[in-house]
């Protein structure tokens, strides 16, 4: 029998019970430490306890850039996970049963009374009585009285059962567990190893000769890889960039980054302030930037809507920052608070009234999150303007296996032009580059004034026409300077054959899914296409995008929003109308299958607009 190099495991259940997250993260960490490469994502409702949530973990011996819809092993903590809530008028999911690969295994709580009649017959439904199994195991160990404390080990029993269903070597899972339970938790290692064995043996017996899957064995790596999320990558890169000041108002999904930074604030000499609203958050960050700190604030669409006057404030006063993170979710208004969407490009590009320079960058994967998070602080200091880092929930909240985030390979910190004693100091001195050396409050001889009103070189209010023209040209000119100085490699990336007839264009988290889908289409349909990723959205890489799209005979836009906002931006900036727009706005990011189907259909039928959905849970 051949090995499977790409299997998907899922756990679903009511959120808030601790079951889903704990089970998934513990299982995934053990697998990651065992040497498997994971790509995982959580989907959840805007609810604290009770609604359906689920973790999808794609397991492979090599890096995967997206999730597949196909599930090979499903752990169901409740019936809704299997059958959905289709009794609702608008079901938020239709049960994961439909996603099961033929031959797949549904592992469910032995306490559930699942009526299997009428369900798909090409998969196996195996009840695992994890509470009873744990009680029996603890009794054998003489530790029956510890049941309540050790109840989380039912997750390990489910993990062991999953390992058996996936056909993986039990010892690999057990080694992973041993390396997870170390230090203060070391005494939990052996009980968990034993629980894994209990679950594994139970499942092997139940499956009998139905053992369909056989996960490819891997070598445990010498150095355990990290299993981390985009929010971790951003926070770590910000700390590496010298972040001194972070503000936030709690909002999903940005809170995860903020609380992560808050956890380490004391140890890392960082001030994190939880404020009363996002208006306070942005203004506090601007105040900190003006007084010398590298500062940042992280939010989501609704919070950014409140922040916009603060972006204009930072821009007209030429503050060195802040760097503002938008962890996107589904809008408008409160929208889909816990779901994924790429609909905040327009507001990121156009925050606030009037005209002013700012930079907008959208990383496409976890490594780019680290690079862009770091470099944004250099841009903020060098060009003295606010920078927006626009990231999708998918790569912000999802976990991936990473060996090295590359924090030691980042470029040097560049704080831009600084004040040097030279007589009369003018904070907004007109210079050839448009950049005025900046001082920091506390510096003797370098007192400055600044104002959100139009101002002169000294920073005092003036309504002079001649000054207005020069100041506008100075400020807006910094955008052209940034466009000239930022290398093309940071603005765009072209993947695949440069001379392909077909060019797919996108931004942000669709990068991985597009690359995966093009590989499938090349292999299965012989499609020869390349992918243009637009990473720097403002200043827009007009020359690069025009050249690449101008060369293609057919162009397709892939975006997770209703209108195709990047498509509009490309038309505005280059005059090029992308031929076909593939959009998805159901609050779930593209699965591999969805994107392959959509591209295939679009290439075959040529419609100008395709709205994509597989009505996934």
């Amino acid at each position: 029998m051949d090995y499977n190099s790409d299997l998907t495991w899922m756990v679903g259940g009511p959120q808030g019970s601790g079951g889903v997250n704990t089970a998934a993260e513990a299982f995934a960490k053990a697998l990651s430490r065992a040497g498997y490469r994971l790509h995982m994502n959580i989907e959840y409702h805007s609810n604290i306890e009770g609604e359906h949530s689920y973790y999808t973990v794609r397991i492979s011996n090599q890096d995967k850039r997206n999730l597949s819809e196909k599930i090979h092993v499903l752990v169901a903590l409740d019936e809704e996970t299997i059958l959905g809530n289709t009794h609702n008028e608008w079901p938020s999911h239709h049960g994961h049963l439909a996603q099961m690969a033929p031959g797949g295994v549904v592992i469910y709580d032995g306490a559930l009374k699942l009526d299997q009649s009428g369900l798909r017959q090409d998969i196996r439904y195996i009840p695992v009585p994890w509470d009873r199994l744990l009680r029996e195991m603890l009794a054998e160990m003489g530790r029956s009285s510890d049941f309540n404390t050790l109840k989380p080990m039912t997750n390990t029993i489910a993990g062991g059962a999953s390992a058996a269903a996936l056909g993986m070597d039990l010892r690999l899972y057990q080694e992973g567990l041993r390396s997870v339970f170390t230090g203060r938790r070391a005494q939990l290692a052996e009980p968990n190893v034993r629980a894994a064995d209990v679950g594994y043996r139970f499942m092997q017996e139940a499956l009998g000769d139905h053992q369909i899957f056989r996960l490819i064995p891997v070598e445990p790596p010498a150095v355990a890889p990290m299993l981390l999320r985009g929010i971790h990558a951003a926070a770590l890169a910000k700390l590496r960039a010298g972040l001194a000041f972070q503000t936030y108002y709690p909002i999903s999904p940005a809170t995860d980054e903020n609380v992560y930074l808050e956890t380490y604030a004391r140890a890392q000499g960082l001030v994190v302030v939880q404020v009363e609203d996002e208006i306070s958050a942005i203004n506090m960050a601007v105040g900190a930037a003006h007084t010398g700190a590298r500062s940042s604030t992280s939010t989501s669409g609704p919070g950014f809507s409140l922040m916009i006057e603060g972006i204009g404030f930072a821009a007209i006063t030429e503050a060195p920052g802040p760097v503002v993170f938008i962890w996107q979710r589904g809008g408008p208004s409160t929208g889909l608070p816990t779901r994924s969407e790429q609909a905040d490009l327009n507001i990121a590009l156009h925050p606030g009234h009037g005209e002013f320079p700012h930079i907008v960058v959208a990383p496409g994967d976890i490594h780019e999150i680290a690079e862009d998070s770091f470099e944004s602080f250099n841009w903020a200091d060098r060009y003295q303007l606010p920078v927006v880092v626009l990231v999708d929930k998918k790569i912000g909240s999802g976990y991936v296996t990473v060996d090295d985030l590359g924090l030691d390979k980042l470029p040097p910190v560049d704080r831009g032009a600084r004040y040097k004693p030279d007589g009369d100091y003018l904070r907004y001195r007109f210079t050839d580059s448009g950049i005025s050396p900046r001082s920091v409050p506390g510096q003797e001889g370098a007192i400055f004034w600044t104002t959100t009103d139009e101002h002169d070189e000294r920073g005092h209010i003036t309504e002079s026409t001649a000054n207005r023209i020069r100041m506008m040209e100075k400020r807006m000119g910094k955008l052209s300077l940034a466009a000239r100085e930022i290398p093309s490699s940071r603005k765009i990336a072209l993947y695949g054959p440069a001379d392909a007839d077909i060019t797919v264009v996108g931004w942000g988290s669709t990068k991985g899914p597009i690359l995966d889908a093009l590989e499938v289409l090349a292999a299965e349909d012989g499609v020869r296409a390349n992918f243009l990723q637009v990473r720097l959205l403002r200043p827009f890489p007009i020359e690069e995008v025009s050249r690449i799209l101008g060369r293609a005979s057919r162009t397709l836009l892939v975006e997770e929003n209703y209108s195709g906002q990047l498509g509009d931006l490309i038309r505005e900036q280059t005059g090029i109308e992308v031929n076909q727009r593939l959009v998805k706005f159901d609050g779930r990011s593209f699965s591999e299958e969805e994107l392959v189907d959509a591209l295939r259909t679009a290439l075959r039928e040529g419609q100008p607009r395709v709205a994509v959905t597989h009505l996934l849970p």
Binding site: R33, V223, A224, M226, L227, L228, L236, L239, G242, L243, A244, F245, T247, Y264, A265, R266, A267, Q268, G269, L270, V271, V273, V275, E276, D277, I279, S280, A281, N283, M284, A285, V286, G287, A288, A289, H290, T291, G292, A293, R294, S295, E309, G310, F313, T317, L405, L407, V440, P441, G442, Q443, E444, G445, I447, W449, T450, T451, T452, D453, H460
Partner: protein, 315 residues
């Protein structure tokens, strides 16, 4: 307050004046407050480059331009968050925030309340003239119900807030009232507020000769039974200072006393410190974790962090 006196220079009020053309109306109460700020800074002998004055939007918002110190003229209503960020990022600076009554109690009300919760070491001065002057005299949140100033088409049907009571309820650790046209007394009060460790708030009664034709210089100067309308709490046996900050009963009693005093308005209006308590500042509570700064540049020294423990925790 870190006062670095490396040079033996004695600062006078002239050192805090900037040569910028002043656009306030003749006779504006703002001149008295500006004067008092500059006198207060001279009283404290603070080097101008170690002072940062933040302001909101409105006539009062222009104040920093007229002061020789770092001046940051921010957005309408947002001066407190901005000044808070400035202070926390550069704790060696002496930070003063100024703004109008509409700026602080209307559009900025949420920030006014929440700044009280933090007790960052800064001073907040509100220029309270009961009207939105720069937009031609609409009622500000301190305009009393039933009153109609010259720019208002109808008497106010919204009630006024009591900023002193609101400040006390919000947790400010220094709450006082001043009067713009007594710059010497106001200067001393401002110096006391700046010296206070924690967030000090002064509501400064200010005349607007253009739009507030009700509470004018003459109105504030009226005398009843040989007693002037405006009187100093210092001249009475009122004591708003909490002696034992660990004694919650004393804190509550002093707050209640101050709140009661804050409602005294009419023939007698008290000036001075209504409430004062020494509590740990926000910075004190951050102390072990705040950015290490270099006084010369105010720049956090955070460029070579060891992140290995964070990375290992993710493995």
């Amino acid at each position: 307050m870190a006062i670095i006196t490396s040079d033996p220079k004695v600062y006078t009020i002239r050192d805090y004046k900037s040569p910028v053309h002043n656009t306030w109306c003749a006779g504006c109460g703002d001149f008295g407050i500006l004067n008092a700020i500059q006198l207060g800074l001279a009283e404290l002998q603070l080097p101008p480059h170690q002072v940062a004055v933040f302001s909101g939007i409105g006539c009062s918002g222009k104040a920093p331009h007229y002061i020789n110190a770092f001046g940051i003229h921010t957005l309408h209503g947002r001066v407190l968050p901005t000044a808070t960020g400035g202070k926390l990022a550069n704790p060696e600076m002496t930070v003063i925030a100024v703004g109008g009554d509409g700026d602080g109690y209307g559009i900025g009300a949420g920030y006014f309340v929440n700044a009280g919760r933090r007790n960052v070491d800064l001073t907040y001065l509100v220029f309270d003239n009961e009207v939105y002057g720069l937009t031609k005299g609409q009622a500000a949140p301190t305009m009393q119900k039933g009153l109609r100033a010259k720019g208002m088409p109808e008497p106010a049907i919204q009630d006024s807030i009591n900023p002193l009571a609101l400040a006390i309820a919000s947790g400010y650790t220094f709450v006082a009232r001043g009067y713009a046209l007594q710059p010497k007394g106001l200067a001393t009060l401002i110096a006391e507020a700046v010296s206070h460790r924690g967030t000090a708030f002064i509501d400064i009664l200010q005349t607007c000769p253009y739009y507030n034709d009700l509470h004018t210089k003459e109105w504030y100067s009226e005398v009843f039974d040989h007693e002037p309308r405006l009187y100093q709490l210092d001249d009475t046996d009122y004591d708003g200072v909490v002696r034992d900050p660990t004694n919650l009963d004393e804190i509550v009693a002093k707050k209640v006393q101050a709140m009661t005093k804050s409602y005294e308005w009419g023939e007698r209006i008290p000036l001075g410190v209504l409430y004062k308590v020494d509590m740990a500042t926000y910075e004190d509570q951050l102390a072990t974790g705040r950015p290490t700064t270099n006084g010369a540049t105010g720049e956090p020294n955070l460029w070579n962090r060891d992140l290995s423990s964070l990375l290992n925790a993710l493995r």
